[in-house]
Each structure stands twice: as structure tokens, then as C-alpha cells.
């Protein structure tokens, strides 16, 4: 097990190296010049060239890449072109915000998703099932910038129950977590439903029922646990999406996290910040995948890692 974990962690190194290279090249292929953007639209040529020299952008690309890699090995991601703050610092004070939002979103998504999926599966093709699945479809189809605004409109502007924007307190977390979690909840609900339906048709469920077990025990202990493998996969994938794809939620709810940092940095061609943020997201994807793989073994004792 430990050997497996170490092996997987070692494998992340080439992945991250590849990501670093691709991002490094991509941000530079896109037209636009950080020095020009920093100097402003109305800047003189001398100023733009001076800034380019200061930032080392006048050096050959290979030299810049080598520089970036050596910095990376030391844990130094460089300084933001724009704010002049170290990139690690820029990332560090946004990570907790993004983690909080993603965790709360995940909580909403799994709680609502799994519950809705189970309810639907237990009474397939009933009215409840139809309602749950229509809501799930709606959740999946609604873009977050719309559902987010609707939540703000109803709960902040009309009812005045919750704060509209910001990331100061627990109350601030409710609306963005709901908006963010809802679309993932829809996916999880649909996945849970189909996995449960399949499991509920299997022989050992018939056996469990034949033994005279209470339906609650059959569903929760015997069926749900066996239906969890595909659900965990989806939850894992959704976690990655929540970590990186919270861009829209972060924008709508003025939540200062990694997603928005990435968008702003891209628009400003803040190369070091884009590189740092993408590496961070890539790393979190890899780690989430590892955790998902390990969870399989936990849920299904037949799965073993060597």
C-alpha cells in the first residue's frame, strides 16, 4: 500500500514537469505582452522595453524556462508581474478560500446528490423519481452565473437572509456553496440512481430481503455501499472540477480564490502567476485521483494495491 502511494507520488513529477512545459509555452504563444499590459495601454515604448528587461522577458525562451525550472525546484515560483508579490504568497492566501468553497460545495453536492439518487432508485419511475430527476436535469443545465445570481436575488436582495457577496463568515459560504454544489449534485444524483438501480436488481439484495432484513438496512448497508464505487469516481472527478472550475462561482460571489486569480492572471499575461496556479491545480487533480483510488480499496475490500 505505502509502496503504491510512493510510486504514485513519484509519478506526479513527470506529470507536473509536462504541465509546466505546456503552460510555459502556451501563455507565451497567446498574443499580448505582460510588459505592455503592465505599462498600460497609453505607455511609451521605452517604458515597455524597460519593464520587459526588468522581468527578464527579453531573454531567450529556453533560458527563461530553465530559470523557471530551477526556481521550481527551490519552491520559488517567481514574482507576480503585476503586484510584485511572490507567486507562492499570491497562491497561499487564496488556497484556503478555494478549499473552503470546494469542500462546502462538495458537501452540498454529495449530501444532496447521494440522497436524491437513493430516493429515486428506491422508487423508480414514481412521481418522486420524476421530480428528483427533473430537478437534477435543471441543476445540470443551469449555468452557475445564472443560478448564482438567482440565489443572490432571492436570498440576499429580496429576503435579506444571507449576504450577497464576500468571503468573511460562514454565512457567506452558504449561497456560493449551494450554487457550486448544485450542478455537481445533479451529476452525482444521476450516477447514484443508475448504480443503485443496478445493485438493487442483483441476487444478494434479493437474498438480503429474503432473510427478512428491514428495507432501510437493505438499501443503506447492502445496496448503497456496493453502488458507491462509480459514485466515488464521479465525486472525485467533480472535486477536481470544483477546485479549478469554481471560476464562475468565485466571480459571481466575489470570492477571492484560485479560479479568479487564474482568470485575472491570464488576462494580464501575468506569466508567473498563471504558471503557478496551473501547476497547483494540476497537482490537486493528481492528488484527488490518488485519494479516489485509495478510497476504492476502503469501500471495496476486494480491491488491493501492491
Amino acid at each position: 500500500m505505502w509502496r503504491y502511494i510512493v510510486k504514485r507520488l513519484l509519478l506526479t513529477i513527470p506529470v507536473l514537469f509536462g504541465v509546466a512545459f505546456v503552460v510555459f509555452v502556451m501563455v507565451r504563444i497567446v498574443p499580448g505582452d505582460p510588459a505592455q499590459i503592465m505599462a498600460g495601454q497609453q505607455a511609451t515604448r521605452e517604458l515597455v522595453e524597460g519593464i520587459r528587461r526588468d522581468l527578464g522577458l527579453d531573454r531567450p525562451l529556453l533560458v527563461q524556462f530553465a530559470d523557471f525550472l530551477t526556481g521550481l525546484l527551490r519552491g520559488d515560483l517567481g514574482r507576480s508581474v503585476r503586484s510584485r508579490a511572490p507567486v507562492t504568497e499570491e497562491l497561499a492566501h487564496r488556497i484556503p478560500n478555494t478549499l473552503r468553497l470546494a469542500a462546502a460545495g462538495m458537501l452540498v453536492a454529495t449530501t444532496v446528490g447521494v440522497t436524491a439518487g437513493v430516493i429515486s432508485a428506491v422508487r423508480p419511475y414514481s412521481l418522486v423519481d420524476a421530480v428528483v430527476m427533473v430537478v437534477a436535469l435543471a441543476g445540470l443545465s443551469m449555468p452557475i452565473y445564472w443560478s448564482g445570481l438567482m440565489l443572490i436575488l432571492v436570498f440576499a436582495v429580496w429576503l435579506n437572509w444571507l449576504p450577497a457577496v464576500g468571503s468573511d463568515s460562514l454565512a457567506h459560504l452558504v449561497l456560493p456553496a449551494t450554487a457550486l454544489g448544485f450542478s455537481s449534485a445533479a451529476i452525482i444524483a444521476r450516477m447514484t440512481r443508475s448504480a443503485m438501480l443496478e445493485v438493487l436488481r442483483s441476487d444478494y439484495i434479493r437474498t438480503a430481503r429474503a432473510k427478512g432484513l428491514a428495507e432501510r438496512v437493505v438499501v443503506n448497508r447492502h445496496a448503497l455501499r456496493n453502488a458507491l464505487i462509480p459514485v466515488i469516481t464521479v465525486v472525485g472527478l467533480q472535486t477536481g472540477t470544483l477546485l479549478s472550475g469554481a471560476v464562475l462561482t468565485e466571480s459571481v460571489f466575489a470570492w477571492s480564490g484560485i479560479g479568479r486569480l487564474m482568470v485575472d492572471a491570464t488576462l494580464n499575461r501575468d506569466y508567473p502567476v498563471v504558471q503557478g496556479a496551473v501547476l497547483l491545480v494540476a497537482l490537486s487533480f493528481v492528488l484527488v485521483n490518488l485519494v479516489v483510488d485509495l478510497l476504492y480499496a476502503l469501500v471495496d475490500p476486494r480491491i488491493r494495491y501492491e
Binding site: 498574443p31 499580448g32 499590459i37 517604458l47 510584485r84 445570481l149 450577497a164 457577496v165 466575489a254 488576462l267
Partner: protein, 515 residues
Amino acid sequence: MRVLAVCLLAFAMLAAGAGAGAAPAPARGGTLIIAEGSDATTLDGHRYTDSPTAERMEHICETLFWLSPEGRVEPRLATAFTFSPDGRRLTIRLRPNVRFHDGTPFNAQAAKWNLDRVLDPATRASFRSLIDRVTQVVALDANTLVLLTNAPFAPLVLNLTHGGVCMQSPTAIERLGPDEYARNPVGTGPYRFREWVRGDRITVTRFEEYWGEKGHFDAIQWRVIPDDGARVAAVESGAVHIAKRVPPRDVERLRANRALRVEVQTSLRTIFIGFNVTRPPFNNRRVRQALNYAINKEAIVRAILGGTARVSDAPIAPGVAGYAKIMTYEYNVERARQLLAEAGYPNGFRATLHHPVARYIRDAEIAAAVQGLLRRVGVEVELVPMDIGSLVAFTNKPQAEATHQMYMLGWGTVTGDADYGLYNLFHSSQWPPAGFNRGFYRNPQVDALLDRGRTTLDQAERNRIYREAMEIIMEDAPWIFLHSESQVTAYRAEVQNVYMHPAERLVAMQGFFRR
């Protein structure tokens, strides 16, 4: 030394605020929360370029002179100025007994240190060009500063109103170094910097030892809310007191809300579509004029901008010193067709229009409208949307390499002087990559006039010079002259004496809450 002009400045502004008598008495206390779409970029007053940063910095750091919303130069850290008879020596009297937030005295030495810092190319000061004709700065005594230039430079005093040459504590910059200082600014303003949570908020608190009328708010906080709808919802729900850049579509609805006050302030930013005048078909003046006639500017302002903009009648906006109403190409499809035929394009032609997305108010929608209107005169325009960073880089190539045909951009005449709004855009010395004349316009007459405008000190004479230059420019039509933007701002009703400056900055220095 015989003094040509002694310009003692009125101190009326200190007591005035806005329309003194009728306004309620200022109450102290509270934190004003302002919502804006973007965060500051750097808090080094000499290195920012964007108006969101300018607004925050203006409450922290002050300039020698201040440009009033009406376009008057008023005293701030300077109290008076005189030009020598030959116009090459500007003597500035500084306000005595002023201290920076860190206790460092503000005097001629500190002012000289700041101007020298801006002038030093190694600083990479964004607005060095505003004062780059100054050859030497001399601290004559504790409160007298002298600026020397090789030739008279008329816009100098106006340029000193720009936040890009504000006064910052030399001690703080030297102690922290430029990178660290850029996150911990120290000025002389009525509010002092407290914290910057990047991407989220900037907070300033009242400076109790301020030399002038002290701030009434305990603190002012700028919150970043990028989404238009969320920003508007935030001010409706009372989560913030002010929402900036309200989308035109929300104006009517918000006006019906009695808890809010919506104000539309014209700005000094003009939006235009430039032509690369060195390549066919746009090297033909008739073609450029035809396209001006083909665009229904009033309809664009009315339908797309909800009436919150002003159709351009000159290359610069009213409120800029030197502005004069010149003319507007009225919407006339027949005239446009006729001019195109005369120019040898009876069946029109195809062209590309590069335009920004989400940089100017509804820029992409305006580009689409232009495309539709030009189709009516037979000109098929392909739209190429770009983010502003890419667009600026794309149009910044030297003439021989430039491939752009039509490009939509805007220009904020932030110093409030025609020189800044015309020289950079129409003088032939400003072709890319040196300057902002991105359509490669060249007219020797205009060049000569713009040169004269710079060195003439008499404002009435300058007005005449700029009027003549603008008449030629309008006739030459190197742009489709569209409109100047307005800033739509929503305020909670209790917010008093906070207003939008035409230079796109919110001024909250003397604001307060009505109790």
C-alpha cells in the same frame, strides 16, 4: 526675475465640498464600502496605469495640484506657482507643515525626491512622459520647488495634477524597497493605507493628523466584485454602499428604488474605431468619411448604452482643456454610398475590425452594431474579438508589419489637457511602437499645430490652436468618431458628498453618511 504670470490659487475648495449651504452637516463615523469590478494592480503611486488603482491611491497619496471635476487646477500640496518670462522655469510654493502618514515631513526635498524618482528611467514610472521635459528639479528652500525645462511646456502644471506623479514618503520607499512598498503605500492623504487582501479588498482608515479637512468616514473599503449582476445586487441588498460601473440596462430599474441614487457622470474617455490610413481602402479620405456617415452614433448610444454616453463631436471629450465642439458626421447612408462610389468602391469592400471584449462598456455589442450598419453601405466587416491585452499588442506593430485595418479602442485624457488627448494619438512622431497613433495618421499641418500647442503658455491661444488641429482631424477622419463613455454609479441614499470625477475615479475624501 520678472514674473510673467503669478497664479495664486483660490483656497475656496477647502470649505466648499459640494454646494455648501444646502448639504446636511457631515457626520463622523462608519465604513464606506465601494464595489468595483477589478482590483488595484500595484499601490506604488508612480507605477500604476489603471483607474481602479488611481482611485484608491488618490485617497492615500496626494499630488501637488488637483484637477477639479470642473477641470480647474486647484492647490493641494502646492499652494501657488509662477512661470518665468521665458516659460522655462516653473516655481512652486509648497504647503508648509505637512507630514506623511509615517511622520516623514513633506517639504521641497521630499517633493524633489519624488519627481526625481519619476524621472529616473530605472523607476519605470508609468507616467514619466508627463514630466519628461523637466531637465532639473531644484529644492530652493524648505517650501519652494523649481522645475526647469529646455523649452516652455504648457501642460506641465496640469500634468502635475495626475496621480502618476503623486507624493509618496521617501523614507518608506527607501526602507521597504519598491516591491514591498508597492503593497504598503505611504502618502499625505486624508486616509492612510491599512490592508490589501489581493483580489478581495483594500481598506484605508482616516488619518487623524491630516493637514486639511479630515475625512468623515472611519474607514473606506473597496471590494472587488467582478460580476456586473452581483455588484448591482450587492448595492441593492445593502452589502455595499456604492456600486461602480452599473450596466446601462439596470439604470431604469435602480432609479425606481428609493434606497438608491443613480448618477451618470460623463468621462474623459472617448471610444473610436481607428483606420490604418496607410493601406487601401482606408488611405482614401472619402472612404473614411463614408464610414463615418454610415454609422448611426445616436442609435448606438441610445440602444446599446441606454443613453448613458455622449456622441463625439471632437476627438476629445468636453471637460478637457482645449476641447471645442467641432462637428459630428450625421447618419446619412446615401452620402456614405455616394462617397464610396466617388472613391472607387461603388460595391463596397471587405475589411476586418479588431475590437476588445469587456474592456469598454458594451464594446463587443457596439462592434456588432457597426458591422450591421456598415453592411447597409456594402462594406462587409469581419469582427475579430480580442482581450484588451492582445489587442493592444496586435495594434502596436511598426507600420511595415502592421496588418490591422480597423480597430476599436478608447483613450482617456486623464490629465484633462488636449495635449495628452491629441498629441499621443495624432502626431506622426507617435506611430507604433513609439506611441499610440495606431492608424499611422500623418498630417504636417496637424503635427505643427500640436507642437505649437505644447509650447504655448497662453490658454486662449492654445484653445485656438487645438480647435484648428481638431477641425483638420475631423475632416481627415482617421477614426470613426463614436462617443465618450459615461460612468454609471449606484449609491445607497445615505451616502453623501461622494461623487465620480470625469477622470473615472470616485472621490470619497469628504464623503459621509447621512444619519
